[in-house]
């Protein structure tokens, strides 16, 4: 009798492990819900290095420079002519893909520079829209180039690259966007 009672007590003291999975599941679900795998997206740029007084910036021929000016009122000046943000994309594409055909546009894609100049009072939103249009122009050019190489689009081409630095599409159509110092607002 005594032996039996002792045995029973011992068996009852065991922690049931069947609910362990449920507890772990609950914790798992909590962390699944709270985890944010948000990726920061944005328009990438490389700033020019701090100007060196001894070496002046390399001269760029006027025809190779596409000047975009946005003033404080949000008006766009494209190559000294009043324009709008919506027209920038086509203008950049014509400029870069010109290959010396039209004397108003660039000599070659490698020489083509897009310069964006703002005013100190220009709304940031408008600046981003402008920059976005310029980059979209380049993305469209890259897409066309990637398609001619047998890829669906540029993103696919880039994903297929083994060496990210040996990007033929970008080497052929280099994106050269320059940010000019703004005029002091008045």
């Amino acid at each position: 009798m005594g032996v039996l009672a002792k045995k029973k007590k011992r068996a009852g003291a065991e922690i049931p492990t069947s609910s362990m999975a449920d507890i772990a599941f609950l914790l798992l679900i909590f962390f699944l819900v709270t985890t944010t795998i948000d990726v920061d997206t944005g328009i990438g740029m490389t700033l020019p290095p701090e100007p060196d007084d001894t070496t002046p910036p390399p001269p760029v021929a006027d025809r190779n420079m596409l000047k975009i000016l946005i003033n404080a009122q949000g008006q766009v000046l494209l190559e000294d002519l009043p324009s709008s943000v919506a027209l920038i994309r086509n203008e950049v594409m014509t400029h870069v893909q010109n290959n010396g055909a039209d004397s108003r546009y660039s000599d070659s894609p490698g020489k083509a520079v897009v310069s964006i100049k703002t005013d100190r009072l220009t709304p940031y939103n408008l600046y981003i829209q402008t920059l976005d249009e310029v980059w979209m122009a380049y993305f469209e050019i890259w897409d066309t180039e990637a398609r001619s190489m047998g890829f669906a689009n540029y993103v696919e081409y880039r994903a297929a690259l083994e060496d990210i630095t040996a990007n033929e599409v970008r080497d052929k159509w280099p994106a050269q966007v320059s940010l000019a110092e703004p005029d002091p607002g008045n």
Binding site: T17, M20, A21, A24, F25, L27, L28, F31, L32, T34, T35, T36, I37, V39, D40, T41, G42, I43, G44, M45, T46, L47, P48, P49, E50, T118, D119, R120, L121, T122, P123, Y124, N125, Y127, I128, Q129, L131, D132, W135, M136, Y138, F139, L179, E181, P182, G185
Partner: protein, 150 residues
């Protein structure tokens, strides 16, 4: 023969004893990857919308810099301020030393500029000027995907 079939019937049960272990493994994975550290942003940053977006895959390269009107008590907003990490930067020339220090720790640093869409270019240019002096030339204008065009 009959004995044989009995045995095979008893076998197909999958042991659930290792189930907690599997779940714990998953749990530990998510616990490790979860970032609970949420910096308190003291300036308002409604990001502009754009199309030509690129993702910054490597989070460890990124340093954030917020610019926007300062959030005041009771939904009011103040002057445009710059915030790095947890501190609002009053003197913009301090950006240089902060960013330079970050650059020495992470040479492939990308500065993500989270600028409020209603800001003016003046402060953005000043910040960029400081970044150029610090040598942190890789920047990203943080933007949201333009939903209207999708």
């Amino acid at each position: 023969m009959a004995h044989f079939t009995k045995k095979s019937k008893a076998k197909p049960e999958i042991s659930t004893a290792s189930l907690p272990d599997i779940i714990f493994m998953l749990l530990i994975f998510f616990m490790v990857t979860t970032v609970l550290r949420e910096q308190e942003v003291q300036v308002r940053t409604i990001l502009p919308q754009a199309e030509a977006l690129t993702k910054i895959e490597q989070k460890r390269y990124v340093a954030y810099l917020w610019t926007g009107p300062e959030k005041l008590r009771g939904n009011a907003i103040g002057d445009t301020k710059v915030q790095i990490d947890d501190a609002v930067i009053e003197d913009l020339t301090n950006i240089r030393s902060i960013m330079y220090r970050k650059l020495t720790e992470q040479p492939r640093l990308i500065v993500s500029l989270r600028v409020d869409e209603e800001s003016e270019m003046g402060i953005v240019t000043d910040v960029q000027g400081e970044l150029r002096k610090a040598g942190t030339l890789r920047i990203s204008y943080s933007s949201r995907r333009d939903i209207s065009n999708m």
